[in-house]
Symmetry: C2
Subunit: 153 residues, 2 copies
């Protein structure tokens, strides 16, 4: 399965891991996102951050989550099938994301079940991991998505 | 307790609910955030969204989460005490957030315990809710935060 095949519920098979590419984040991007949404000193103020709990500026966890989401939209969820998400469980920010870091994202299908009430769709659960350039997992989460069943299925 | 008192772990008492103010989101903001981080048709393309599963454009759940985070930083977490978050559980996007909607955010302390290994800090769990202008809860989540204990405590 390649990124650009039309992909439906039927194509998300439990146990399969998908490479979702990688993304880098700059100091300017970290400060810009956090200034808008999470202006804590260790996200927006390099000098305060150097004296703070992480010894330097780190990305907001919500920024990391948003960067990961972009990789999922580009490489995992398909525009044909995606019907949104009811939620996300067990988000864990396991390590700091610092300026210049590169995160590789992978998505593993954990569960897939056809909806009983709405047979045109299914529900998948996905374990999402972001690993930095040193091989350290910096974020993990389990997402739930509604996906259309293949039209001719 | 007002928003601007220096606030430490000791001040987060289970059962207390904090009003975290409200925030509105525009169509342009919804499209801008989603173009960068979550470019699914129902977040970025008004015409496709009108034909899609939500009958119109809706905010990315990550955008809603980021808007809620800003209210928490401004009204709930204190710059003096906050030592970051290890994670977030049971994020539920319970209803669509549409252009022009206004979300009121409240935070209820669910648990507070002093760290045994690091007595200078405590761990709190917070139930976070965002309610729209019609009184409908559109997002709920449980966050975990590390907070400094009051220095003279």
């Amino acid at each position: 399965m390649t990124d650009h095949d039309p992909r439906y519920f039927d194509d998300y098979v439990p146990g399969m891991t998908h490479d979702c590419g990688s993304v880098s984040v700059s100091r300017a991007e970290i400060i810009s996102f956090a200034t808008q949404f999470d202006p804590q000193p260790f996200h927006v103020d390099p000098e305060a951050a150097a004296r703070g709990p992480f010894g330097g500026l780190i990305a907001s966890g919500w920024h990391t989550a948003a960067l990961v989401m972009r990789q999922l939209v580009d490489h995992y969820l398909s525009a044909e099938a995606s019907l949104g998400s009811p939620g996300m469980d067990e988000i864990r920010w396991l390590g700091p994301v610092r300026p210049g870091n590169t995160l590789s994202v992978r998505a593993t299908v954990a569960e897939a079940r056809r909806s009983q009430s709405r047979p045109d769709r299914g529900i998948i659960k996905t374990v999402i991991e972001a690993v930095n350039q040193d091989g350290r997992t910096v974020m993990r989460a389990t997402g739930t998505n509604f996906l259309r069943v293949r039209p001719d299925a």
